[in-house]
Subunit: 430 residues, 2 copies
Amino acid sequence: MNPVATGTAPLVADPARLQDHIDAFAALSEPDSGPGVTRLAYTALERQAHAVFTRWMTDLGLRVWTDAAGNTLAERSGTNPDLPALGAGSHLDSVPNAGAYDGIAGVVAAMETARLFAEADIEHAFPIRFVAFAAEEGARFGQACTGSRIVAGLTGPDDLESKSDAQGVTLAEAMRSVGFAPHEVARARWQSADWAAFLELHIEQGSVLESTGTPVGIVDQISGSTRIMIEITGRASHTGGTPMHLRADSMTAAAEVVLLAESLANDTRHRGTRISVGKMEASPGSITTIAGRTRLYVDVRDIDSDRQRLTVAELVERAKSLCERRNVTFAATALADASPVILPRRLRDTVASTCTDLQIDYRVLPSGASHDSQMINHVVPTGLIFVPSRDGISHSPVEWTSADELATGTSVLAAGLLALDQQMRPHATA
Amino acid sequence: MNPVATGTAPLVADPARLQDHIDAFAALSEPDSGPGVTRLAYTALERQAHAVFTRWMTDLGLRVWTDAAGNTLAERSGTNPDLPALGAGSHLDSVPNAGAYDGIAGVVAAMETARLFAEADIEHAFPIRFVAFAAEEGARFGQACTGSRIVAGLTGPDDLESKSDAQGVTLAEAMRSVGFAPHEVARARWQSADWAAFLELHIEQGSVLESTGTPVGIVDQISGSTRIMIEITGRASHTGGTPMHLRADSMTAAAEVVLLAESLANDTRHRGTRISVGKMEASPGSITTIAGRTRLYVDVRDIDSDRQRLTVAELVERAKSLCERRNVTFAATALADASPVILPRRLRDTVASTCTDLQIDYRVLPSGASHDSQMINHVVPTGLIFVPSRDGISHSPVEWTSADELATGTSVLAAGLLALDQQMRPHATA
């Protein structure tokens, strides 16, 4: 089987063009926000990035629309109007002080694939939809993958009203501020009957591919993530006037919780569990005042769904009791909860055989990070393709993937879509 | 000896009037800054508070001027123009989300004393200067007692250019922004020959007076305070993609430093040492990103000057080595350093005998907090009078002292000044 429908030589992605797209998106960053890219969910900057995607796809002759959740879809027609769609894409928002590749790599790979198909006049039976999801990062509202959760029917209007950012702006308010209607998000929902399969390309955000010298990863499972906010309340008081034994210090209790979380993740029962406290807010935040209230934001990831929830329960229980011992009050609030998923074997096999055809090494591996794939796999069978991350670093200004590595992954994505187009046709023989 | 120079009944401070002043100053708070009073050093609001003080003193017929550091002085003439001044006062700025009494109590006691002297037509030989110091709190710039340090010659222009707030505004810039000339602060310096003695009234900010049912405290020594900023740099990376053993997490290292500081203060070598981390900043501050950089602001207080510096050195040494073990980098920056002081015996004795004459119980005790007294005692013999703090709480919106307690302290201040006026006259016999 030739993965390219026209029977010609495989399509070859252009590293320079991919890099141009990466650079253009990276330029859309909040001014005065420090190093790296800051383009948070449901901001004007995120919409500017979607406008760039829209213009590119429109210029290639695709039909482009934006749904009620802010996801942008660009459809290239297939030769058989009765078939459901194949899809490819990722997201365009970022965490604060991010790199230029998380999410963006998958969108620029989709943009380059659309260009390759257009320039080579590729015909496919299935319509192919290139997608830029909105609001994938959980950094602003705690919940990750909001755009893809909405299309998968996993998040509705109530959820959008209840989650808010550090300034108290709810997800729903943020959506309205950039022109979307949160009460109408049900209209954005995807129907399984409309979709045949989906492929997402993403940077690994880990170091397996780099350390093994493998250009492509095929993801078999994606970690779940439970996120909680722990609020510890003690008593703000003068640092000089308050003896050590009369303190109710929320900061020292919080420090003990941070180390408890770390030790839980490192104990022998938890090989694979990852627990992080990336955000802490101590109030009133003065060098001469004992912190009266400290908030900790905790992220628990696991491939094992039961262990994920049991770990959170154990952390909460033990943190609560250490706070009692320290005479400070403890409260935990659930911010988000997503189960681990196993991605469908059939798509993994298709991507693997595509790699073999293209003579590109690959490796099957799990994903510690959440992805839009995790959500849309509920409505459309989804495959997730990784390209290497230098030093395994992501969510950082130094996040980097070479243009050549990105081009290799993009060639697999393009060929993979065409392989699916062949395989999944009603008349196709494998 | 009658503490009141006129030989009449002791002057009695008016609780209602004191409370009115407290409330008026409390109303001068940064909008949208959360609970309590926020009136930081060298802001327009601090200057408004000084304007209130100026108007009150001017209306009482005193000569009022503001020096190059922003301290406001109001002089009531004495009958002997050759004598140096007696003084009384405290400060008008606050920490963020403060109470209404820290510093302010001493200024309103001075305002009420000036009123009592004016209304009773009290004569005194020495001129009496009522003082509202500027920028006592170290919350904004790290350095405490800037106004009183300047008059004592302990802080000069270079220091003002080198210390800055969280927004990077230097002390010098902040001073200029409210109309002062930081390069001319030498002009504000007090000469010992111009001053005979000074009394500061302040809330205790601890619970010794309340727990022993004592209305007045007389301070014998004031803790020193060394303040450092510790910056720990790890590697920002994705919380899901980065295995526990490959992390360089500045947050967990910072948590260990917080607990190290606490354990140092609690060990048997350190009875009396107080170590606090009231402020922590983790960057980039996202729930899905391992904190790449965390800053800790540490305050070390001690009555023992050597132990204070040795404790800081031990904390830095051990924090540095735990950071090395955790594969994150460590840096410590000195923010401020003040030695403990012992206040002069003679003034303590005068205040004590004043209390005895007025039949007011007192207790001699140390101060854990820094005060303007600590600085001006370098140029003028200074006494420090404490009134009770409910639950010992300060630097908090719930900081509270009753109007009656404040009035009792004010009566001692007024009588104490007149006792000094009698005692210190060239012809006086004790």
